[in-house]
């Protein structure tokens, strides 16, 4: 199973996200992450979906998405041809020693400490998905009480989507 990044430009109408997620549910496509955000043109939104599957899934996702009335453009983004970015917030429980070692790791990986008290420390990290994965695997051994990842957003380096 592979992960594929799909970028779609959709009309900014109520229910458009429901249409996309309904399509994924109906066809049995697996979503790893999904982000929706406004674009500079308020008539359109950008949906970035990371889908888990094989080449067959990818082909079907692209074709089925393209059939949605409110989908203006949809394409598969290869990670190397695009600028892909996401952000994660992680809350870790631990005493002063633990919090100190978290700070050290953060310094190495370019993550920021955004909050710290006697019981927990919250770190923020943004970067490419693989960069985030590496960081998360390193801090995996700590007592993580909560984490939240935005999901990938991506912009193609040259191709014009719209």
């Amino acid at each position: 199973m592979e992960k594929y990044i799909i970028s779609a430009l959709v009309k900014n109408r109520s229910g458009v996200l429901a249409r996309v997620s309904s399509l994924f549910g109906r066809r049995g496509f697996n979503i790893d992450s999904l982000t929706v955000s406004p674009t500079t043109d308020e008539a359109f939104s950008r949906i970035t979906i990371v889908v888990i599957g094989d080449e067959y899934t990818l082909e079907q996702v692209l074709k089925q998405m393209a059939k949605l009335e409110e989908c203006v453009a949809v394409s598969h983004i290869e990670e190397e041809d695009a600028f892909c970015w996401e952000l994660v917030l992680v809350k870790i429980r631990g005493d002063a020693a633990v919090r100190e070692s978290v700070r050290e790791i953060c310094a190495v990986y370019g993550a920021n400490v955004v909050d710290s008290n006697e019981k927990t420390i919250i770190v923020r990290m943004d970067g490419t998905p693989s960069h985030l994965n590496t960081f998360l695997s390193v801090i995996h051994s700590f007592d993580i009480v909560e984490s939240s990842r935005t999901g990938v957003t991506a912009v193609h380096k040259d191709a014009v989507l719209k």
């Binding site: 429901a18 249409r19 309904s22 399509l23 549910g25 109906r26 079907q60 074709k63 009335e69």
Partner: protein, 554 residues
């Protein structure tokens, strides 16, 4: 001019050429019905017994006429009752516009009386749907709904209109009727490659489906098969696209298709698929269909390519456009050895049911219907054994004369569809072939046929059991007939009379012949209770997950 929402709705429907609405009134659509009363000389409303009947009628009307079918229901249960009909139309790519009322905009989201989020419910079974929250959007929404319903691969579109929008007033101006969006442009290189494959093949087979009927390509199909001398077979949805007595028409393939045709597909070196989606009723085993053949797929919907079957070449386009572009590049050919081979399979392997005039054998019953009606007359079926017998033996050979729920397999589809077809084609005979199981699901529509004096002939192929499921239980579940023998005491003749229709019972072929002749003279609906043996089976059949190589013929 200033009009209210209900007037705008009807004016824009008239603008699209809509002459008939199938529907059922209710609280949220009171304003619309009030206007329908005033417009009754310009637009006909057919009141059904149940909204499901209205949705199937709109579907049957669309299949029989090629126009967009329109149905109308109130909010809540009215809307949910349309759902099965919308899903049926969606699976078979039938153009339909379903209109639902909803509670007023200020009541939406508060679990108000008869409120349901029908746009959410129908999202996966419509091409698109709309909630019209502002009166200013109504007219263009209706126009766009028609455009979407008939463009590309056709399908149903739903418009949900809150009650206050049907009363609100705004400026309205007529526009020309919505037009189909242009079909995909045909790529000459793709056509050339397809032509080369056809011209080089030795054992070609054409496999066509409902797309040929939707695009009106049957004459071009006939031209192609004769020019290139290619035997053709079809999916159930393709019935009517090709003459039955055409020597190159091998008939239906699939789970209950002809063995010789299935074998031809299995042994072909080239399979040309026209407007068909390789459903699991045809390509019964995933990854094992026409394995010896190169496959070329022609479809208007790119998403159908490589969905169920991996193909070697595809052409995206309307079947008619593709065939028009293709024909000039096709060489005249002669595939006599291949045809002779198929002919041998036909003689040696095809299922030949035995006649018995002393009872009613399903194949004889179906052939009798074909014999007594004209080739322009329409057959609508329900779902089950009778549907397959009808598909095999009623000899429909003109487009839009065989209406059947293919993709969804909706029991209860037939009567509504027959009513819609009869309303749309008043000069043709419409025969509704059903089973006692299917008929029980929506037989209340008899009252509709009576009220509107629709001379639909219903033939209930009555084996007193749920035959198709029972047949599977016979073959694969050790004859444990779980809930397929309901011991119902329904007297269809008395039932017909209770509804104000005519009922006739028959048990032999001669009796059926007489009943049909009488029914064909009637000016209102007739129910023929045609009693058949409960152990009659649909043959041949390919067991689930198997291929034509494991077909059962006795």
């Amino acid at each position: 001019m200033k009009l209210n929402g209900s007037q705008i709705l009807i004016e824009t429907l008239l603008e699209q050429g809509t002459d008939t609405i199938f529907g059922y009134p209710g609280g949220a659509v009171l304003n619309i019905y009030d206007e329908l009363y005033k417009y009754s000389d310009r637009i006909r409303h057919v009141l059904t017994a149940h909204e499901q009947g209205a949705s199937h009628a709109a579907d049957g009307y669309a299949r029989a006429t090629g126009k967009v079918g329109v149905c109308l229901a109130t909010s809540g249960p009215g809307a949910t009752n349309l759902v099965t009909g919308i899903a049926t139309a969606y699976m078979d790519s039938i153009p339909m516009v379903a209109i639902t009322g909803n509670v007023g905009t200020s009541f939406i989201g508060r679990d108000s009386f008869q409120e349901v989020y029908i746009a959410g419910i129908t999202m996966p079974i419509t091409k698109h749907n709309f909630v019209v929250r502002r009166i200013e959007e109504l007219a263009d929404t209706v126009r766009l709904a028609f455009e979407i319903a008939m463009s590309g691969r056709p399908g149903p579109v739903l418009i949900d209109i809150p009650k206050d929008v049907t009363a609100a007033v705004c400026e309205f101006e007529h526009k020309p009727a919505a037009q189909k969006r242009p079909n995909p442009k045909i790529e000459q290189e793709q056509i050339k490659k397809m032509a080369d494959m056809i011209n080089r093949s030795e054992r070609p087979v054409i496999f066509f489906g409902g797309g040929v009927i939707a695009s009106g390509a049957s004459e071009l199909l006939e031209e192609l098969i004769h020019r290139a001398d290619i035997p053709a077979c079809h999916a159930m949805m393709g019935i009517g696209a090709l003459r039955c007595d055409d020597p190159l028409n091998m008939g239906m393939i699939g789970m209950h298709g002809w063995v010789s045709a299935g074998r031809a597909v299995d042994k072909a070196d080239l399979l040309i698929a026209l407007g068909t989606r390789f459903s699991d009723r045809v390509a019964t085993k995933m990854g094992d269909f026409a394995t010896g053949a190169k496959i070329v797929q022609v479809d208007i919907d790119p998403a159908e390519v490589n969905k169920n079957i991996a193909v070697d070449h595809n052409v995206i386009g309307d079947a008619r456009d593709v065939l028009e572009a293709l024909l000039p590049m096709i060489d005249h050919a002669d595939h006599t050895p291949w045809k002779q081979q198929i002919e041998t399979w036909k003689t040696r392997m095809d299922y030949k049911p035995k006649d018995d005039d002393s009872v009613l054998r399903p194949h004889q019953l179906m052939r009798k219907i074909d014999e007594l009606i004209s080739k322009d007359d329409i057959i609508a079926t329900d779902v089950g054994q009778h549907q397959m017998w009808a598909a095999q033996f009623t000899g429909r050979e003109k487009p839009r004369t065989f209406l059947s729920s293919g993709g969804l397999g909706t029991m209860g589809y037939g009567y509504g569809a027959a009513i819609g077809a009869q309303v749309g084609q008043p000069d043709r005979k419409v025969v509704h072939i059903t089973g006692d199981g299917s008929f029980h699901m929506n037989l209340q529509e008899m009252c509709t046929a009576v009220s509107f004096r629709l001379p639909v002939i219903t033939v209930v192929v009555n084996n007193s059991v749920l035959g198709m499921v029972r047949q599977w239980q016979t073959s694969f579940y050790g004859q444990r007939y779980s809930n397929t023998d309901p011991h119902r005491k329904t007297d269809f003749v008395k039932l017909a009379e209770a509804f104000g229709a005519k009922g006739i019972r028959c048990r032999t072929l001669a009796e059926f012949d007489a009943a049909m002749r009488e029914a064909l003279q009637a000016d209102g609906p007739v129910i023929i209770d045609a009693v058949v043996d409960k152990d009659e089976r649909v043959l041949p059949f390919i067991p689930a997950g198997q291929t034509i190589r494991n077909v059962v013929v006795d």
